[in-house]
């Protein structure tokens, strides 16, 4: 069949030409993106720009998870949504925007909050996960599930004028393997005291700050998905684990910090892990309880 001669359509060569001609992507990299399924959890200030750039780049399947609806106070930073779509679910609103940017991307909607009971089945079909959520309970749940399913996790967060970015479980080796990348629990074994946790609603957030972090998540996702796809570039191992710290009013604005490797006694990714698929499915891991209840009074 004629379709066999060219692995991409003429339309795709035209649309993705500017990234296809780069050695870091190339035809093989573009095919990797096309065949990839990425799950974006949270369609807020991080998820909106991350989704826009992943859809633009031609990631074949993008899953969107969010249980909220669009509010007017979201719009200064959640740039996929619009004034006319206030009140619509964030997932539906984002799908309208993403579909108009690139109708070739298959979008999968998950219009409920992730829970321990649904996490494994929701995340299982995807190759890579972006944590764009806004609370510690979700962050532990998503990281644990990524470890159990063997998926790399691109995690970012932002508050006020600061942002943080980590690529976790990279490479995504099984629990107990010391050659896998650290997970969220390796870096933060214990959750922060609830009174130290501040949301963007309470603390405020500058739009471009969370925007930069979200676009960086899309970049890291593309880097992970296309890594070593070009046969003429020598293969390289994943970057060593690091934390990128962004601070809009500091000089310099960006700092890279070397992180530890997997923790020998990590509850999720070590040989002694207590986080198991059974525990997760049974609901015996209560993440909200584990992270405590948030009390905005006196919060930092």
């Amino acid at each position: 069949p004629p379709g066999r001669r060219w692995p991409l359509d003429a339309v795709e060569y035209r649309r993705y030409g500017r990234q296809l001609i780069m050695p870091e992507v190339g035809l093989q990299g573009q095919l990797r993106l096309k065949n990839a399924a990425v799950l974006i959890i949270g369609m807020g200030g991080l998820g909106c720009p991350a989704a826009a750039y992943l859809a633009g780049a031609g990631v074949g399947t993008i899953g969107l998870v969010d249980g909220d609806v669009v509010e007017e106070s979201n719009l200064h930073r959640q740039i996929l949504h619009s004034t006319a779509r206030v009140g619509m679910t964030k997932v539906e609103s984002a799908m309208v925007a993403l579909n108009s940017l690139n109708p070739n991307v298959k979008l999968v909607s998950h219009t409920t909050r992730l829970s321990p009971e649904t996490a494994l089945s929701t995340m299982q079909p995807y190759d890579l996960v972006l944590d764009c959520t806004d609370n510690p309970a979700s962050r532990y749940l998503i990281s644990d599930t990524c470890v159990l399913l063997g998926k790399t996790l691109v995690s970012a967060s932002a508050l006020r004028t600061d942002g943080q970015l980590m690529v976790l479980n990279n490479p995504p080796m099984p629990p107990g393997s010391t050659s896998g990348g650290p997970c969220y629990r390796c870096v933060f074994p214990k959750p922060p005291p609830p009174e130290s946790v501040v949301s963007c609603g309470d603390g405020g957030i500058l739009g471009p700050v969370v925007g930069i972090m979200g676009v960086l998540q899309a970049l890291e996702a593309i880097k992970v998905l296309t890594r070593n796809s070009n046969p003429s570039i020598p293969e390289t191992p994943p970057d060593p684990p690091s934390l990128l710290i962004f601070s809009a009013y500091s000089s310099p604005m960006f700092r890279s910090i070397r992180l530890r490797t997997r923790k020998a006694k990590c509850a999720a990714c070590s040989a002694q892990a207590s986080v198991t698929p059974e525990a997760l499915n049974s609901g015996s891991l209560d993440y909200v309880q584990f992270c405590g209840v948030i009390n905005p009074v006196d919060a930092l």
């Binding site: 200030g45 510690p136 943080q164 933060f188 922060p192 501040v198 963007c200 934390l243 890279s256 910090i257």
Partner: protein, 107 residues
């Protein structure tokens, strides 16, 4: 070395912790070279010293818990996770940069 010798270091706060330290992200300090027992100062002592002598905010529990840095704060010694350097037993050296980062959860 006399007991009242001091070590010049830079201590930085990020992720909101600066609010506990007079809203100043970067502090140039001279801290005692030895702790209360005459042992060379390590990170554990630095944390006590910061709490007792630098922090004016009364909400100490947003920085320390059970005698050490509270969960959710990363300690970075010269741009590396303190877990790579011996955690709170790391002996502080002249000119060290110690960064305390509170994890963020917003999105």
């Amino acid at each position: 070395m006399k007991n009242d010798d001091t070590i010049p270091i830079t201590v930085e706060f990020s992720g909101g912790l600066e609010m506990l330290f007079s809203n100043d992200r970067k502090h140039s300090l001279s801290m005692p070279a030895k702790d209360e027992d005459g042992t060379l100062s390590n990170i554990a002592y630095l944390v006590r010293y910061l709490c007792d002598s630098v922090m004016k905010d009364p909400r100490k529990d947003l920085f320390v818990l059970d005698g050490t840095v509270r969960p959710g704060i990363l300690v970075l010694i010269n741009e590396a996770d303190w877990e790579l350097e011996g955690e709170d037993k790391y002996e502080i050296k002249n000119g060290d940069n110690i960064l305390f980062v509170s994890t963020l959860h917003g999105g």
